[in-house]
Amino acid sequence: MKRKATVPMRSKGMAHVHGQLVDRIVSDAPPVKPVTSVFNQWLLWLILSAVVMGLWLWNLHIQANAGQVLSHMPPRAFLLTAYLGAALAAWEAISSSLPGRQMGKGYLVFSLLVMLAILCIPFLLFYPAGQSYDVWGSFIGGIECAQHVVLVGVLPWVLLGWRLSRNASFRPSWTGAWSGVSAFLLGTVTVQLHCPGWDARHMVSAHLLPAVFLIFFTTFIGSFWFARWRK
């Protein structure tokens, strides 16, 4: 049975006052500059983050035998998948912060599969056979790389966050999480180009684990930062 809501009818005088109020709000509202499209925001961020990556690589130096390493399929696959993941996550973060531009479930499933691939590729292609894996030991051994992942990712995240805070996200934590995935995966890619350690244990503990931890942080910060437009 269809439920009928009964709302008291507004009087004619009330409607007139209401109309006057709306007219006044509209006339008092300053004109706003419309935000740029998702694609433009995404492209701008990719360019800015590529500049940041370039500056960090110039500072840290790319690994000596980079040409030789990148001529093999496994390192290329990992770097390209990680960069694709960062780009997809940035698109998701931006589109989730613009009403009516949210991506469908297909896009989300594809993005999550790419994230899963980023975590699996080191174990599938770079794990030394028959050796044990000490997560904490590998993390402590690669603490310098972990620091670099954080340092490289912070500026792209702030740039993306600044852009996202000017949009209007209805799911600020979600937007915050994807912005973190995007920025710190770029950090992972940059550090992976610098660090000669292509051992799965080092890659996961020192290059990927810090990014995963920082996603919790960006989710938390995002829940406040990207909700400010409603205040």
Partner: protein, 142 residues
């Protein structure tokens, strides 16, 4: 919106919330794109947020029937035992004034007539009675 909000009393408030959110998010509308998806996304999310907020508020709300009363009355209408006991310890003149004014609900003139004294005298006796009662109740509380 009325299909989502079942409580008709909430509809005007949520309607206002939706309009306010549309106003705040107006910069995110791209004129080159259709208005519908943007409008419905903002409206839908505003309604959901408002309902969520309302539910949180309702969880914290205490019905007025559950609030403690300032003076607890027994079922038969007599005063709380402690207050009654304190009232019995007052000097007769003060106790009579308090009983007539506060328990029987007489006016100052009526109480004065019944006690056979002036209105000012009733006021003084009642005032002293209130003070003594207050002190007694505070001591018992400590």
């Amino acid at each position: 919106m009325r299909r989502r909000v079942f409580n008709p009393e909430l509809v005007p408030d949520i309607y206002q919330e939706v309009l306010l959110t549309l106003h705040k998010a107006r910069h995110t509308y791209e004129p080159s794109r259709p208005l519908g998806p943007w409008l419905f996304t903002v409206a839908r999310n505003s309604v959901l947020d408002a309902l969520r907020k309302g539910r949180k508020f309702a969880e914290r709300e205490v019905p007025s029937e559950n609030l403690p009363e300032t003076i607890r009355m027994e079922v038969d209408g007599s005063l709380d035992d402690q207050l009654y006991a304190a009232l019995q310890t007052l000097p007769d003149l003060n106790r009579q004034a308090v009983e007539l004014l506060k328990l029987r609900g007489l006016s100052l003139e009526e109480a004065a007539k019944q006690l056979g004294v002036s209105v000012s005298a009733v006021k003084v006796r009642a005032h002293r009675g209130y003070e003594q009662l207050r002190k007694l109740m505070l001591e018992k509380k400590k």
